[in-house]
Symmetry: D2
Subunit: 388 residues, 4 copies
């Protein structure tokens, strides 16, 4: 794995670095680097990707942006309380957290930032470039794990890079949502970008153009960690067995920051929309599919999802199945964030620019791909990554 | 699909032709031939196998053996009562059932057959050959859908064809269980054989030798229709995502003839053993996996299975999922029986002799294959069948 | 049971007589009268109410109002198709359906009725009185099983009987929703009234006054047949064991007419409101309780509800439970409609006027009662009914 | 509550004092005494029993027997690891654990005790009497929470107290299983006895006689904490609604010491037998009810139970429901152990001798009672306890 990996370490820059997913990824990477935990949940450590040229855990450095300033240590303690990070593990890495803390910078906050968005982007890009220089990193991958935004309103400036850059320079105009400004800054700094949320991120024509021009890869959107992961493993079973799915209803119960964010219908719209394309694509037809996300504070990061599938078999006979998924969201997401940093850095090193559709395996709403079936996505990922 | 299919029809000879699965397959085929139902549940009618040289539904003729003599019509009526066959569909095909009835012959019954097993096999083979001749069939596939037997005790005569044939001629000696005698007779008659149950069937070295010598294909064992189907769709999800499965417990509730048969621990042993290899093969390690099959008469053919999976993710955090499957067993099995008849006939036509491992997609305990992952099995099946 | 029941038969007048619940109740009563089915699901036939003075099945006559004119026979046939009424049972009672059909009359339809509501009520009451006279019935109970209405907007005329009657006489004014006009007509005709739906029905001060004046009993609201029934059996378990419920989330999937009606948020509001009071009342505190009702047409009358309960035990440890209920709504409701007819007639005979809180056992939102615990409701019901 | 409670404290003597349930009860009581936790899960602190004359938490002292000698502190630490006892709570009571540790004595171990059982009983009784004297306790309740034993083989000496005492004196004869010897010793020491397990305990005619003679109360058997608790809340729902239960299947997955103990079919037999009477008693008829208990080590104390109920409603229509219970066994059991100590001491103080059937509320297999319905048991308990 390290044969073709270049000598200098890589950087992982987290947009939303003090959130649950980010903090879990940080504590986890520190533990992996110190050999204190196994890499359970990390796809890049499995046989599937055995020939991919990936940076070893010890050669990954983390920094990031966030708009809040709660100390990482405090966030990690609250993750211990909610059962996401084991107490003894936090004790073991507590010392190293300070090192990461020193590499965190204030993020872009649309509500407070009074200058132009161009100025903000410049500042963000400078933070990342400085991080790269200080640690002598071969390259940096920016991963967006900040709170889900509402869908962005269409703006003609999103379509053309020139128009976008002009708009960014207009005082008082906020042409890009935060996630897209983070992508813009990443590209300007010469970094790959990954959108782990359903926010707009790099998915605007003008930003894709910029990534191509800068020769940097990007991937997304919306990490596939729970109910949708299950659906992309199961829906192909119905298709391959010629069983006709009549309806597929679902409900998600979760608390924590994510639960509160998604309680706002505007934010939930992005998530529901990112989830909704999956079933018709895999089943080959539309299907009645009510889907709910409820904020249930007592569950914290422990998400419970229930799915009910009604289907028809031979001679029109009706049958059904149900699933209950009890997963810990940050636990499921954090290792994928680390995986994506390694893989996107490898893609960057191999000269890939623009969207990397082969990383669709990780996402609910894969860029440039209609393939949602998990097994097939895994095959595509492995074929690609092992020949980088 | 019919381009390369030869002109004469094929035959499907059911061992256990008056059972639930067989009766559903018979009523279903009659309905398909008459254009009265869609082929939901039939894999061979999907795009996956669009280039396979398969006999059209109208070119399949059914006959079979059974040790009971309940009229097919009566069996079909009881399947209407239990919701497996729609009443109006039975009315529509009731007339044609008589045609199939005329092609059913008494099967081999170890408890009553007083001659040698060689004599019995000769009679069975003659029934099949006669069926083939009367209908001018290009070839016949024998599918075993009779009740599950206990595991066969080892006998040295199972290893060598000569020794087996000598043993078959010994008066009073029952060297082969019923399912294996059916395979022997099928091979002697120059027919392919499919074991849809976990019984021994063709899985003895001497019988494999015979199949090779006769140039006929065989496939098995134990049709994958419910809980195990789900497991082979889901277990690969855990593997590909590097999630460590700690335990996978299951319980199956079913009534009907199958429920009663499997209430006998000797019979259940075959079924449990056929199911037990699946998880370790897919997960790559042993796993605590208690598994129960209970006879719950009121459920009839409506099988309900519950699975509980406990797994570990990043930083050792424990999570779980549950599944409830409410399927109608004969509904799920019958279209696969029709699929296997078409595919085995095509393999035979293409000159395949001996075990066809590419048909592992259909089975809990695939012959000559360690591949249990459903998606990969589907890929293998399609690649093979489309190039026959 | 019949000892103290008076000699003449009683009448059950269904408002919404051609709906699923009504048709099931009609077919069921005809079958009970003919001794063709057991009274499974009928509380009034159990030991619990062994001393209540109830009319025997053979002494109950059915008539009713509906705004549609689909023949009962056709409705019953569609219930056979959806598995609510067994085919052979329909054949056995098909002849008697014509008798009930002859006692059905056009209901009040706010969209088409152009006269005053007073005139409409007079017509409705006359229909019922005529039914009572023609069949020489001792008394008639009107049960509302028509589609759920949106919550009624407050009108000062709802508070005073005089004001209400004046408003009813105003041309073009629709002061009462359909369900309340049905209650008004029932009371004017001297009949008891039962609201089996969450619609407003008799629950207006002016109507309660009328019932008292006419000396007739009424009961409601919203038959407790599925998820709520379960909740009122289970929530007391948590209370009596001092386990602290943190959240109780639920989702209901159903098709059929009910699914379509409740897809309209205005109608669903009545249902959700009727369900929402149950948990706090039983648990003694507010609880996070998201609740959804989804229209899933393929499920028809087969309602599936999932509940997830999260609770805290000793030393603050978190635990959970889940429930899946797969019930057939009309099957569960119809016998209760028959029970309520018998019990309300008995209450009427015993001289009860106004709301009968002892019938709260049957309802999601019991009139004049905070008692929701099923076992306690059963005790109250039995004590009351057995001493009528 | 304390009005009529006498001045001196009471004692709780745990047989199996170093097990999970006992350690949780000990840590919990210490926390309750110190006001560090709420009494969630303790029935005796609810309004239901507001008038019962119960010892306050601060007036309960714990001691006990065990055959292992793992320090309580170590056991408590392992309960922290498995999520049964919160870490901060253990820190807060760690100091007080030593006090309880000083009151633990070696239990009776049939495999090592070489003297007569009479001698062993004398030693056990002396330990308890000494505990009572040292702490100046008004009375002591012995609660058996040791591992489940196989059902005891019948011995004629179990029927008569004289014969039993003679047998106890025979060298080398083990006429009583450990749980019954504990009951015998408790009675000899003048203490009440509670059997929280399905072991034989006090349920032998000779021991009942002894309890009567000594004027001490006893209660049991087998604390109702999970699946059976749910069943006794739900089965009455089917009865009171006249729904006919056709089958009720169940499976229990658990690890920990209990899982390992119950993996031995001999031990499981006691548990399965204790659970099996519940459904027929509540439903009023026999029912197909397969039931499994599986050892799934990774689940530890987190027990998961799944129940599937199939039932018939009006017109013979079939429906079903499912339950999944995810409970922490020791968390559910420990507060009941404390409840039973308080209630049995109060019964003793009030002069009750022999079996206390009013405590059936707490047990799967209540002594001297056929009442299993939870709500009714709660009513009986409250009526009795509040008038002590």
């Amino acid at each position: 794995m390290t044969a073709s990996h270049c000598d200098r370490p890589i950087g992982l820059w987290l947009n939303g670095a003090r959130g649950s997913v980010a903090t879990t990824a940080i504590a986890g990477l520190l533990a992996l680097r110190a050999g204190l935990t196994r890499s359970t949940g990390c796809v890049t450590d499995t046989d599937l990707l055995r020939d991919a040229p990936l940076a070893p855990w010890t050669d990954i450095v983390i920094g990031g942006h966030d708009i809040v300033d709660t100390p990482l240590e405090k966030r990690a303690e609250s993750l211990v309380d909610s059962g996401v990070v084991p107490g003894p593990l936090l004790e073991a890495v507590r010392g190293s957290l300070a090192g990461v803390e020193a590499d965190l910078r204030p993020g872009y906050d649309a509500r407070n930032d009074t200058g132009t968005q161009a100025g903000a982007a410049e500042r963000l890009a400078a933070d990342i470039a400085d991080f790269r220089a200080r640690h002598d990193l071969s390259r940096v991958v920016v991963v967006n794990v900040s709170s889900t935004e509402p869908p962005a309103a269409y703006d003609p400036a999103h379509d053309e890079l020139d128009a976008l850059e002009a708009a960014l320079r207009e005082p008082g105009r906020q042409v890009l949502p935060g996630s897209s400004l983070a992508a813009y800054a990443a590209f300007q700094a010469g970094c790959g970008f990954v959108d782990f949320t359903p926010s707009t991120g790099a998915r605007l024509p003008a930003l894709e153009r910029l990534a191509q021009r800068q020769g940097v890869p990007f991937a997304g959107s919306d990490g596939k960690t729970g109910e949708t992961l299950l659906r992309t493993a199961l829906a192909p079973m119905f298709s391959v067995r010629a069983l006709h799915v009549l309806s597929w209803a679902g409900i998600n119960l979760l608390g924590g920051g994510d639960g509160a964010t998604l309680e706002d219908p505007a934010n939930a719209k992005s998530k529901l929309s990112s989830k909704s394309g999956v079933l018709p694509a895999m089943l080959g037809h539309d299907v009645t599919a009510p889907l709910h996300i409820d904020n249930v504070p007592d569950l914290g990061d422990h998400k419970t999802a229930w799915d009910h599938v009604s289907f028809e078999g031979f001679l029109g006979v009706r049958m059904s199945m149900q699933l209950t998924w009890s997963g810990v969201d940050s636990t499921l997401a954090a290792p994928l964030v680390l995986d994506l940093a390694r893989l996107t850095a490898a893609a960057h090193a191999a000269g890939h620019a623009g969207p990397v559709r082969q990383l669709g395996f990780f996402f609910k709403d894969p860029i440039d791909s209609d393939e949602h079936a998990l097994a097939e996505q895994g095959r595509i990922l492995a074929e690609w990554a092992n020949s980088l």
